[in-house]
Symmetry: C2
């Protein structure tokens, strides 16, 4: 029987803060942390080949369980030999639990309160969660998802068929998909939810964490009994801490999830920007030091510094690729809109200091042309650049911790970077 | 002063036919002929990076003068250092004259007849000529292009502005763009045009050929006088033979165009499938043997064999990439539609005999998933495969001529290949 191949080792810490440098070992290789996780929603990082993903410095790709569950379906991914073989990505992978997408399909409502968890809200954008805006008013009286203590019933945004996810089903699907790191099924509440509803949802998330863990263990035992070579202790399961912006709930959640036999932790929730660092600090002050922590869906430049400082090891976000496809491109001084007329005749690289493939080979004028001409290569080149920017920024933050210069680097970087 | 760097050398001929194997030398390298020319309409081969274009075996890329004239404009391409630098393609390039696109914008009409040259016809597809179908009825009483003996006035399909192309203007634009091989401005008539109109159009094409050549020579002299390093005899100009399906007109055109000091020849016109080989044979029986011939816009599998057999050296066509984006993929036995349900669970390569990047790394099931999910990577992987199929097929035809097995190879290949 294979030894458990998931490990986390800390090499260095930020003095006076919770941040650290480490290495996560997975069945498909190592992740040097802190690391930015590249999102490949439907088993493809939009507009990029696996070689392009790798060449820009990507260490780990996160696919979305909800999307793969709907299309092509987890059975096809399993038949293909799992996510890695299916998409031809040989490095480490993650899948989320599907919960975030299901809840973001409309309004999740329980017995106590009604949570307006809105696609139209700021924290979720329909393009990435796969929900066409004109389909938001279908079924369940204008709601696409209905929650109960056992799980969530929802309609597919693709064909309207009724589907159901429970903790057990989410874990089963994630085992079929076969990513190296998978997540417990949780309920993600909106920042606007009432305290009462948040408490109820948190209780449910904790029950679902236990059920997720139990199902994970059961499937592992079953796989060993069936002499299957697949997933023999290879998949790591992260439990998810919720609790919104409430210190007591966050701490309660961190303590409870920490008490269970997870391999690592996800920190979930839609934070207000100002609250994020505080909430991550509360949680990571409690979570055990020796297990990795993933901050779900966070990817603003400043948030990466704040998350790392407060002890988060990995981050995923669709922002770099989504912005790229809109022509919004990251530079050391802030984002530029390549559709601005002045770039049509700007024959310099997008960012002269950048070592990415796009900046090494193409000009702003060419990118401006491709975007105006609505050519697919525009998305490819812009995605390579934006992802490189994020992956490389986190790599540089990592290096600054190793060199004991984190705070200097943070101040220097953020003082040049214009936020918008 | 630089020696003229454009050369054509024949290495082998098909006994009893007009076909030959040769090498075209351009300022940006050699083209081993016969060769399939990959179309990069707007200075990008749709969905591919220059490295992907090169890796699939592409020798030469053809961009469209009409599209680059409209966007970004030839001045920007020139300022960028020319087409090669702009798109970062270091190999040989061509531009067409812009005429085909201008005439295909609607109905071209002269003094004698009215030629229904239709976007809605079989030979032209609006996607590639850049004309949205709902814009077809704008201006000029439902027509977008108006022809006179001096040139063509038309409206931009992008913003409706009135534009004009003449032979002189087309050559000037093509000099600015700076491709290695450029084409004389011609009038391309529809197969349905009356004989009287065809005669008139052919007369115009011949006058325009002379004017194109004269302007090309004038600009070269001017460039040398200005001590410009650009295009010092570097660009080759091909004259275009027209004449529709009429033997007398084709032969008259071939004789006239052959009498002018062109570096090579284009064979234009929208042929009926059955007529193509015959018309190319008429023309190439007259054109001088020692100059290369390009068959414009031809790219059905059988037509490549017929064109090569009848003495054409290069071919360009948007079919492989357009079909690729629609999920129609070439195999040795014919095209398959990857959206067919059976491919969802087919974990074999698209074509087990194919050495392209797509077939070496991905399954039919993954391609089916990408197409169903409408992911951009679908277009990238499919375009790589289809272009490889064409580029490699012509390369194999070349090899069969070298080995004196052309007719055997043709019969064997076409007997397995199912046309549709």
């Amino acid at each position: 029987m294979a030894e458990k191949s998931f490990k986390f080792k800390i090499a260095k810490e930020i003095p006076g803060a919770l941040g650290r440098v480490g290495t996560i070992t997975t069945p498909h290789g190592e992740i040097q942390t802190p690391a930015f996780v590249v999102v490949g929603t439907k088993a493809t990082v939009k507009a990029l080949t696996p070689e392009q993903i790798k060449d820009l410095g990507t260490q780990v790709v996160l696919a979305n369980t909800y999307h793969l569950f709907l299309e092509p379906g987890e059975k096809i991914v399993a038949e293909a030999g799992g996510l890695h073989k299916f998409m031809n990505w040989s490095g480490p992978t993650m899948t989320d639990s599907g919960g975030f997408q299901v809840f973001s399909l409309g309004v999740a409502y329980g017995e106590v309160g009604v949570t307006k968890f809105a696609v139209e809200g700021k924290t979720i954008e329909s393009t990435e969660v796969g929900l066409p805006r004109d389909e938001q008013s279908e079924s369940y009286g204008g709601k696409l998802a209905k929650i109960d203590d056992d799980g969530v019933t929802f309609r597919s945004h693709l064909d309207g068929s009724e589907l159901r996810l429970t903790p057990e089903r989410s874990i089963e699907i994630q085992h079929q998909i076969g990513a190296d790191i998978i997540f417990a099924f949780d309920e993600c509440t909106a920042p606007s939810a009432s305290l009462d509803y948040q408490k109820e949802a948190l209780e449910r998330t904790h029950q679902w964490a236990q059920r997720s863990l139990k199902e994970h263990q059961r499937l592992n035992v079953q796989a060993r009994q069936n002499f299957s070579e697949k997933n023999l202790g290879g998949q790591a399961l992260y439990g998810i801490v919720q609790g919104g912006r409430h210190q007591d709930l966050r701490e309660q959640s961190a303590k409870f999830i920490a008490s269970l036999d997870f391999d690592g932790f996800g920190i979930g929730g839609s934070f207000d920007k100002a609250d994020m660092g505080t909430a991550v600090h509360w949680v990571n002050s409690i979570l055990p030091v020796n297990k990795p922590r993933h901050l779900l869906g966070i990817g603003a430049v400043e948030d990466l510094f704040i998350g790392i400082e407060n002890g988060a090891d990995t981050f995923d976000c669709v922002t770099p690729t989504r912005e790229a496809r809109n022509g919004s491109l990251y530079t050391l001084t802030g984002r530029i809109n390549i559709l601005n007329a002045k770039f049509r005749t700007d024959f310099s690289p997008l960012d002269p200091t950048c070592a990415c493939y796009t900046c090494q080979n193409f000009t702003r004028a060419y990118l401006a042309h491709l975007f105006r001409a609505k050519e697919m290569l525009a998305s490819t080149l812009a995605s390579i650049h934006n992802l490189y920017f994020f992956v490389n920024l986190v790599k540089n933050i990592r290096q600054s911790i190793i060199e004991e210069k984190f705070f200097e680097f943070k101040e220097q970087f953020l003082s040049n970077y214009h936020h918008d």
